[in-house]
């Protein structure tokens, strides 16, 4: 049996999914968090059923890829749980009408029931139920209220079908329902609503955005640096390091295996051993920044700030062929390019997706890479780190403007709901943070280890020098970098953090470090991002993105090399 969770974007489908299955899925306070579908299993009175969290949609005729996915899912479902935002009943009911016309057994869930009272809305549940002729259940998904009631209804629900309506008939029926079942009393703006208004007015919104982004940056940097200095470094250098070196030396006092495991220097970045660099990069360098980044991102998401940032940035984004929503993809990409790339699904046209993906790959370094750039380049002063980011941003803007000119068609305009601010629910927030950290560790640790292992094998076989000769001209003549950078570029395909880390033993000048960090960001996406984009864009478009990236990488490396005297 397949049960579908369907409803408008941002009504809490994913939270209800988590509640019903116990599985953890990401939810946020903006439309379009779920772009693919998530499956889970639930047990109802001893019988197993499949529960599917369908991406949000406003109507069954799809406008974007995410909505297309949703419309397709409907054909395979046995029961529909239609989730509505109780504070937005009128709009939500349109999809409900369309779903009723499909004739599947259906339950209507009025989520965010706790907000109804705050907003001065009164809903008559009995009247609503008698109009719709299907069970209507109020819930507060974040606290779990009403979920039990929902479960007991799932087995009892019977098919019910209404005849096909035209657009006008649907709205006329909805009008009738609203008139009978809903009364709204006026009330004054709350503080959060006033803050919400202030953050989308141009003269208050832009300063607010500036302050928020600056605060985020400071928090991430403070947390990151403190974690490294007071926890990770003392742990690695004083506790773990001496211990692991002693342990490895017992069976392998020296030789190949000794070097593969712990390398031949005591420096954790430079040794390139599996148990030293292989663990120090993900845990000692990257995690301290990934943690505060996702903490800040999750708070912004659940509070509902991101859609407002999208509105503020909308006209700027139009210059690079995108609209405001792409800001959310970029911010997600600053954490990890993979969720950033997935979130481009909500963009409507192929043109927009292409531009967004290209810009994401070229000029948005992920947190793992940022952490290592800060570690290496930051030693010479944060100004150089800003220089790398400034260069990346400028390339992004330039490439975007060029793509906007040469690609046919125009990008559609922004049209999105701006959800009200919500004080984040602490438990949900912590769960989400934990999930993201776990996802990072699950993906990063094995790949970093693999990368370090490959470096060792290449070293032992003496292939490093051979590769150096092969791509020499571009690296040495155009970029002004030593040929030893080439292995780093190869490993960069696997993990960019390891690649930047590999620059450490080369003792490059600041100029070379800035060039190499920039080029390593631009030249190619990491393997995880590459496969996601291959799936999202198709072989042809992905090939185009790759060509653009390589051209940009060669050019920018050369430009830095020539201009920086």
């Amino acid at each position: 049996m397949k049960i579908l969770l369907m409803g408008n974007p941002n009504v809490g489908k994913s939270v209800i999914f988590s509640r019903l299955t116990g599985a953890h899925v990401i939810s946020s306070n903006y439309p379009g968090t779920t772009v693919g579908f998530t499956k889970g299993r639930i047990w109802i009175e001893g019988k197993e059923a499949e529960l599917i969290d369908v991406p949000g949609l406003y109507r069954l005729e799809p406008f974007s890829k995410a909505e297309e996915v949703a419309a397709k899912m409907l054909k395979q479902g046995n029961i529909v749980i239609n989730i509505l935002d109780a504070t937005n009943l009128e709009r939500s009911l349109y999809l409900t009408m369309q779903l009723l016309e499909q004739g599947l057994p259906m339950i209507v869930v009025l989520n965010m029931w706790d907000d109804v009272k705050h907003k001065g809305i009164h809903l008559d549940l009995e009247k609503l139920q008698s109009f719709l002729q299907v069970p209507v259940i109020p819930t507060v998904a974040v606290t779990g209220e009403g979920i039990k009631d929902l479960v007991t209804h799932i087995n009892k629900v019977k098919p019910y079908k209404i005849h096909h309506h035209t657009d006008e008939e649907r709205w006329a029926d909805i009008g009738k329902i609203i008139k009978e079942a809903q009364t709204i009393t006026h009330r004054h703006h709350t503080f959060l609503e006033k803050l919400g208004d202030a953050s989308i007015h141009p003269y208050t919104g832009l300063p607010i955005a500036f302050v928020i982004l600056l605060l985020c940056f400071l928090i991430i940097r403070f947390f990151g640096e403190s974690l490294i200095e007071y926890i990770m470094n003392p742990f690695f250098y004083r506790v773990y390091g001496p211990l692991i070196i002693k342990l490895v030396k017992i069976p392998f006092p020296s030789g190949i295996i000794h070097n593969i495991l712990i390398g031949d220097t005591a420096n954790f970045i430079e040794s390139l051993g599996l148990l030293t660099t292989g663990l120090y990069v993900p845990f000692g360098m990257v995690l301290p920044y990934v943690f505060p980044f996702y903490l800040v991102l999750s708070v912004l998401e659940d509070f509902g700030y991101l859609p407002r940032l999208a509105v503020l940035m909308d006209n700027l984004m139009h210059h690079v062929g995108l609209h405001g929503f792409a800001v959310i993809s970029i911010i997600l990409g600053l954490g990890c390019n993979v969720p950033g790339a997935l979130s481009t699904r909500i963009l409507e046209t192929r043109r927009e997706k292409f531009i967004a993906s290209t810009l994401l790959c070229i000029s948005v370094p992920c947190m793992a890479q940022t952490a290592v750039i800060i570690g290496l380049v930051g030693k010479y002063g944060m100004a150089y780190v800003f220089l790398v980011y400034g260069i990346l941003m400028s390339i992004g803007i330039l490439v975007g403007m060029i793509l906007d000119r040469i690609l046919k068609g125009a990008s559609p305009e922004i049209f999105m709901e701006i959800p009200p601010y919500h004080i984040p629910h602490l438990k949900t927030l912590c769960k989400k943070l934990w999930m993201r950290i776990k996802e990072f560790l699950d993906e990063a640790v094995p790949l970093v280890l693999l990368g370090v292992l490959i470096i060792n094998i290449l070293n032992i076989l003496g292939l490093m020098d051979f590769l150096g000769i092969l791509a020499g001209p571009i690296v040495t003549r155009i970029w002004g970098l030593p040929p030893q950078v080439i292995p780093a570029m190869l490993i960069g395909f696997l993990r960019k953090d390891v690649a930047v880390g590999m620059l450490a033993p080369l003792h490059l000048s600041v100029k070379q470090l800035v060039t190499a960090s920039t080029v390593l960001t631009v030249y190619f996406p990491c393997v995880a991002t590459f496969f996601v984009l291959l799936k999202e864009l198709g072989v042809k478009d992905m090939a185009k993105v790759a060509v653009i990236m390589m051209i940009v990488a060669i050019t920018i490396g050369g430009v830095i090399n020539v201009l920086w005297v």
Partner: protein
């Protein structure tokens, strides 16, 4: 009747006409921007930025080009939140 783009911030009224084709109309319908609905202009971003409106307690951002296709009969009283209009 003025378009949403030409309305002043904080003005409220009733949507009387939607321009554009069927697809445009279907798209704006999905967020309840329909003929006969009360609408209030909340904000207008500078430099041809989008317009933010309030329909049924919900804020919606609409690109300027789309806002030009939504026509509103502005009414004097602003009743969307029971607040008196600033004059």
């Amino acid at each position: 009747m003025v378009s949403l783009a030409d309305m002043k911030v904080n003005e409220a009224g009733i949507i009387r006409k939607l321009g554009g084709g069927e697809q445009f109309q279907a798209k704006v319908h999905s967020l309840n921007v329909r003929v006969g609905k009360k609408i209030k202009k909340i904000s207008k971003l500078i430099l041809k930025g989008p317009v933010v409106v309030e329909v049924d307690n919900t804020h919606v951002a609409i690109g300027l080009g789309m806002a030009r296709k939504v026509f509103v009969e502005v009414s004097d009283e602003d009743s969307s939140h029971g607040q008196s209009k600033r004059r």
